[in-house]
């Protein structure tokens, strides 16, 4: 039983994405970055899980999936940044425009001098934590803007569901991402079991996206 649960959780980064993908119908331009994210994430996560599950049969040069987490992180940051910019909320506009530049500067400095992007043994904890930090900034500024804005009809709009899902995912995972490299060297078993927490939060994130895209197609 426990093995089955573990198997389901191990593959959750793939099947959880299928929930919003199956549900969504034609979406407005505003939600296109999220739709693109779902397809990109599905492709990357599928590769990650295949590499992990068949690491014994894959040649050793190719059997690391850690750099794919880095790729996933960059794509997620780019597409959700686009989503928040497209929301067109006239609040902290210049800071929102600076965030991608800051992320790019961090990326160049970090992978130019301090870390290797294609590291065989670990993904970049620093990259994922910085990504989580910036995305959390977007989430918080979304709420602050909405508090000042007049509510028309409904609080629970499709963009609210996406933002809240992303917020929950990043809040849970910020410290996991930040300390994962440290944990994987010191407490490897704990680190592996901790990834289940990440997977559960990823399922929640996808359920929120599914809810959002469902609401959006109804409108």
């Amino acid at each position: 039983m426990q093995q089955w649960v573990q198997l389901i959780l191990d593959w959750s980064e793939v099947w959880a994405l299928l929930i919003p993908i199956i549900i969504y119908k034609k979406q407005p331009v505003l939600y296109q970055p999220v739709v693109s994210y779902l397809w990109c994430a599905l492709f990357i996560n599928l590769t990650i899980d295949f590499v992990w599950k068949f690491r014994m049969v894959i040649p050793s040069v190719y059997n690391s999936n850690n750099y794919l987490y880095n790729v996933h992180s960059i794509i997620r940051f780019s597409l959700f940044t686009l989503f928040f910019i497209q929301l067109n909320q006239p609040f902290l506009v210049w800071i929102k425009k600076i965030v991608p530049i800051l992320f790019l500067i961090f990326f160049v400095i970090n992978f130019g001098w301090y870390e290797q992007f294609f590291n065989y043994s670990v993904f970049s904890s620093r990259l994922l934590a910085v990504e989580a930090f910036f995305l959390l900034f977007y989430v918080l500024q979304y709420y602050l803007f909405k508090i000042n804005e007049n509510v028309e009809v409904n609080i629970f709009t499709p963009d609210f569901w996406i933002t809240t899902g992303l917020g929950i995912y990043m809040v849970i995972n910020f410290f996991i991402f930040l300390l994962y490299n440290e944990l994987s060297t010191r407490l490897q078993t704990f680190a592996i079991s901790l990834w289940n927490v990440h997977n559960i939060s990823y399922i929640i994130f996808n359920l929120f996206i599914a809810k959002s895209l469902h609401e959006s197609s109804k409108q």
Binding site: Y143, I168, L183
Partner: protein, 274 residues
């Protein structure tokens, strides 16, 4: 080493818990303030709506009062003057052989009679005393009979007599005025020669259907000319419909046009329901 590992574990658990609690608090504050704002806006909206309805009600009431005043003035003042003029005319003695003046006298007499009739008609139409004395169904029936009187129009009614006037009778006056205006429009613009009115009273809600064979309105056209037309008729109809919280629907089927007025069940205090 073990101590350091435990510290990392603790940092992780406390970090996740603190972040999650902080986020949950922000989310709850957000939802709470948004709900408050929404409630405030909804109450503001309903206040505006009720103020608007009060204005419409006041304008409809003053219109009705003005109609009654004009009707009474016409009946009591102009009608009395015309009757007096007729009496004076009747006292004039003309020689029997003066056929020219005899003809003029006859014509004058006929014109005064016609004027008295017209004044009575207008006065009755404005005052709606049949509505107040005999109720809505009789008033509609009487109005339909007046429409067909001496014309080629066939007008029939099939009204539900289970409906009796409710107190206060302002709703009936508004329904009557709506039907009056619609029928006048059908004659004036749709050029119908067959009109049929039915009513149905079920579960305390009343529905009128006017069917005619003229060139009627579709719902879209009604919505369009209601805003663009300068005429007061359709605006008055819509004001009264809003006041009654009723629905007005225009449709067409088999070359016949249908106008349906659906009135909701009134509230316990007698005000129109929603």
């Amino acid at each position: 080493m073990n101590q350091a590992n435990n510290d990392i574990r603790l940092l992780l658990v406390v970090g996740i818990a603190a972040m999650f609690l902080l986020f949950a608090t922000i989310l709850l504050i957000f939802i709470f303030t948004q709900r408050k704002k929404l409630q405030y806006q909804q109450s503001l909206h309903s206040l505006k709506e009720s103020q608007q309805l009060q204005l419409v009600e006041a304008s409809v009431r003053s219109e009705e009062t003005e109609r009654h005043r004009i009707a009474e003035e016409l009946h009591n003042e102009v009608g009395a003057l015309l009757s007096s003029a007729k009496l004076h005319l009747l006292t004039i003695k003309l020689p029997d052989d003066d056929s020219y003046n005899q003809q003029l006298y006859q014509k004058g007499n006929e014109l005064i009679d016609e004027s008295i009739q017209k004044i009575r008609g207008i006065s009755h139409s404005l005052h709606s005393h049949i509505l107040q004395s005999f109720g809505l169904n009789e008033a509609i029936k009487h109005f339909m009979e007046k429409l067909t009187n001496g014309s080629l129009i066939t007008a029939t009614t099939a009204l539900d007599y289970n409906y009796t006037t409710t107190e206060p009778p302002q709703s009936d006056t508004s329904i009557y005025r709506i039907i009056q205006e619609l029928l006048n429009n059908i004659l004036k613009h749709a050029h119908a020669n067959e009109i049929h009115i039915t009513s149905k009273y079920e579960n305390e809600s009343l529905t009128f259907t006017i069917i005619h064979n003229g060139i009627g309105l579709s719902q879209e056209l009604f919505e369009e000319i209601r805003y663009t037309s300068d005429g007061m008729g359709l605006k008055n109809i819509q004001n009264r419909i809003n006041l009654l919280k009723a629905n007005l629907n225009f449709s067409k089927s088999n070359e016949l046009y249908f106008i349906q007025i659906s009135l909701p069940k009134p509230m316990p205090d007698g005000t129109p329901g929603s």
